[in-house]
């Protein structure tokens, strides 16, 4: 076979999925029509789900597709449809002030450069682990064992968020 066979199918899959995900994320912040941004967000979420599947976290990938690509994206698209009052091609413009745009770009580039430098200067372990085999069972044991308080708190948080969202969007009738 080839001498440079260190480049495996796994690596090619990572590069393809990562490139698609980054393109989708760029679309979210660069499109001028917010409907295109929302569809680009769905694309990005599906890319992240593919990365979870590649990392042997199939259960999390399924959750990602159900919650993000299914529920949250529908919520965002409904909000966009409810709130769009002008020309659709001008709904997601960047800030008109050049100073703010320049400051945002500079902060972003500085943060990205420092993270890349930190990753480059760190010694990473060479070992390739297999990943969790039975992640659903382990997640269930952790959720109802050591982390049961966080699990119950998350349940209460979801309930409060749903009631709060209804009250905020609908308003309270004064009697």
């Amino acid at each position: 076979m080839f001498e440079f066979s260190a480049f495996s199918l796994y690596d090619a899959a990572f590069l393809a999925i990562g490139g698609v995900t980054i393109l989708g994320a760029l679309g979210v912040v660069l499109f001028r029509n917010i409907i295109y941004s929302a569809l680009s967000l769905v694309f990005t979420m599906l890319g992240v789900a593919a990365i979870y599947f590649q990392l042997n976290a199939g259960f999390l990938g399924a959750i990602q597709i159900l919650v993000y690509a299914g529920a949250i994206s529908v919520l965002i698209i409904f909000a966009v449809m409810l709130l769009m009052d002008k020309d659709a091609r001008r709904t997601n413009l960047p800030t008109p002030r050049t100073k703010a745009w320049f400051a945002g770009g500079t902060i972003t580039m500085m943060m990205l450069a420092s993270i890349i430098a930190a990753v480059g200067f760190t010694e990473w372990p060479k070992t390739a682990l297999q990943g969790v085999d039975n992640s659903v069972g382990m997640l269930a044991e952790l959720m109802l064992g050591d982390y049961v308080i966080a699990f119950e708190a998350a349940a209460i948080l979801l309930l409060v968020a749903v009631i709060g969202a209804i009250i905020l969007a609908k308003g309270v009738e004064n009697r």
Binding site: L55, N56, Q64, W124, V132, A154, I166, L168
Partner: protein, 102 residues
């Protein structure tokens, strides 16, 4: 060839794109979508570190599940707030959200 640093770099790039969106967009829904991008970048980091540094337990995946739960609550309340402000101001432009200023 592909290891933990590549996943961290991918996550850093997506997080930076989210930061850029939060800082430069002026549509409130676009800012909420950029926050979702940042939360997803953090989730990639958790799952990758879980696989490459400690694959005996699934704690990283568990934290990702909790982050997804909190993100769902956040986007629901955030969109409800935007709809509520839109009913008063007829705008989703963040520059018009100055209700607490006088």
């Amino acid at each position: 060839m592909i290891g933990l640093p590549h996943y961290i770099l991918l996550s850093a790039v997506i997080f930076s794109i989210g930061v850029y969106g939060v800082l430069t967009r002026r549509n409130a829904i676009a800012v909420l979508m950029s926050v979702e991008l940042m939360l997803n970048a953090v989730n990639i980091n958790f799952v990758a570190a879980n696989k490459f540094m400690n694959d005996a337990a699934a704690v990283g995946q568990l934290f990702s599940v909790f982050i997804i739960v909190v993100a769902a609550a956040e986007i629901a309340v955030g969109l409800a707030l935007v709809i509520s402000i839109y009913q008063q101001r007829k705008s989703v432009d963040l520059n018009d959200f100055n209700l607490l200023k006088w």
